[in-house]
């Protein structure tokens, strides 16, 4: 069986041009995209091995001499294909602000404190069950200059590789109940409400560790399905 990548499912993505997010205005193409068939080039993609990832890359609270400030959390979930099959050996990379809403990045000048015990970058290679698991701290909201009094909801950036180059996904994970959702043009660039909500993690008491850390579940669904599904196709 080989991989197929239906185009219809990409309707979940935001458009390139979303004027409320002002930086898209000069960076979205104006010419129509040119439709091309999927060749061996598109249907293959990078393959990772364990050598690229260390166990310590998954715990963002132990990468420095001391412990970072903030609310310790566990973020776990599965990387899945469109049929719900786990994607093994998927490289998951994440980066985030610290608990005060400050990125370690040199270009972030938001006047909130840096944390000498927190960088905010991690990576994980999924196992055969497609599962990843990070320990980190909950990132803070932070201001940006898109419009007056603009604040991003707390989020964690995720970068994920799947079975083909077209499965590649960069997205953001949000936290349930964030009061900033209605005001965020990046979150609201996703046209469909149900699709937006797929980027909101679910609090999970079963993942939560007593006296230690709150737990969140966040599954990630990538493009791609087997050419011959073993189940009946979904009726839409």
């Amino acid at each position: 069986m080989s991989l197929v990548l239906p185009r219809s499912s990409t309707v979940a993505h935001p458009p390139s041009l979303h004027p409320a997010y002002t930086s898209t205005v000069l960076r979205a193409p104006r010419e129509p995209l040119v439709l091309v068939p999927h060749t061996l080039t598109e249907l293959t993609g990078p393959v990772y091995g364990q050598g690229k990832v260390r166990d310590s890359d998954a715990d963002l609270t132990t990468q420095h001499a001391g412990e970072p400030q903030g609310e310790r959390i566990i973020v776990t979930g599965r990387v899945l294909d469109e049929d719900g099959r786990p994607v093994p050996n998927a490289l998951v990379e994440l980066w985030q602000a610290n608990a005060a809403g400050r990125y370690v990045h040199v270009r972030d000048q938001h006047p909130a404190p840096l944390d000498p015990n927190f960088t905010g970058a991690g990576r994980y290679l999924t196992g055969t069950d497609g599962r990843y698991r990070f320990t980190t701290v909950r990132p803070g909201a932070y201001p940006w200059r898109n419009h007056h009094n603009a604040w991003r909801p707390a989020h964690i950036h995720f970068s994920v590789f799947g079975p083909s180059f077209l499965s590649r996904l960069v997205t953001q994970m949000y936290f349930p109940g964030d009061p900033l959702f209605p005001f965020d043009p990046i979150f609201n660039s996703i046209p469909d409400e149900a699709a937006r909500n797929r980027l909101v993690a679910r609090f999970d008491l079963a993942v939560t560790q007593p006296e230690w850390a709150l737990g969140y579940q966040f599954d990630i669904v990538l493009r791609g399905r087997e050419a011959t599904p073993t189940e009946e196709p979904h009726e839409h």
């Binding site: 080989s2 991989l3 185009r7 990409t10 309707v11 979940a12 935001p14 997010y21 898209t24 205005v25 000069l26 960076r27 979205a28 193409p29 104006r30 010419e31 995209l33 040119v34 439709l35 091309v36 068939p37 060749t39 061996l40 080039t41 598109e42 293959t44 990078p46 393959v47 890359d57 469109e82 719900g84 490289l91 990379e93 994440l94 990045h105 270009r107 972030d108 960088t119 905010g120 970058a121 990576r123 069950d129 950036h157 970068s159 077209l166 996904l169 960069v170 997205t171 979150f187 660039s189 996703i190 149900a194 699709a195 797929r198 980027l199 079963a206 599954d219 990630i220 669904v221 990538l222």
Partner: protein, 202 residues
């Protein structure tokens, strides 16, 4: 029943979101964040990889013609025999050291750069061979999802019979063809406006 065994078909894909302005320490740390391990960089081919070493470079510019200093390019390509380091390309390869994948951020001047090898021709639709090419995904602040394009090479006669280039209006094909100068191939990526790069619906 635990959630681990509750298998259900997902309702749809996870939607894309921008990499934002602060991806560098997570994805392309380089020297500025030397304590962060690097998973991928712009060195696609190790020195000594069989075939012709090349540099692939250019600028990313926006609709005003200004350089984009916070973009990121990822490339995927075959080896010099036109074979992909992937299980779905079952043909034997001369070397297992070439992964075919690289990642480069852009400088303050909007410049990306890869050190790689010239790819060979690869199979295409209907049994027609494709001309040597590199698949490119462009990410950036202000880009809600990646844009896909290709880089072809101006010294390849086979461009004339490439089945993908044939689908691009002739007047726009030059936006996909890098120009050779020594071992360096240069191609600018114009996100919008005059001479806008061709991006593909894949």
């Amino acid at each position: 029943m635990s959630t681990e065994t509750a298998e259900a078909r997902p309702d749809g894909l996870s939607p894309s979101q921008t990499v934002g302005p602060f991806f560098h320490y997570g994805l392309t740390p380089g020297a500025a964040y030397g304590h962060v391990p690097v998973s991928v960089d712009g060195q696609v081919a190790a020195p000594g990889t069989p075939s012709e070493p090349i540099v692939l470079t250019g600028r990313v510019v926006d609709g005003a013609g200004d350089p984009v200093p916070d973009a990121m390019l990822e490339i995927w390509q075959a080896d010099s025999d036109g074979r992909y380091a992937h299980p779905d390309d079952g043909r034997p390869r001369a070397s297992n050291s070439f992964t075919g994948f690289g990642r480069s951020d852009t400088t303050a001047e909007g410049v990306y750069r890869f050190t790689t090898i010239k790819p060979g021709r690869v199979p295409g639709p209907g049994g027609r061979e494709q001309a040597p090419h590199v698949l490119v995904a462009v990410f950036g602040r202000g880009m809600l999802k990646q844009l896909f394009t290709r880089i072809y090479f101006d010294d390849e006669a086979s461009n004339a019979e490439d089945p993908i280039l044939a689908l691009v209006p002739a007047g726009r094909r030059p936006t996909l063809i890098a120009r050779r100068d020594g071992d360096t191939f240069t191609l600018d990526i114009r996100l919008q406006g005059g001479d806008e790069t061709v991006f593909f619906d894949v």
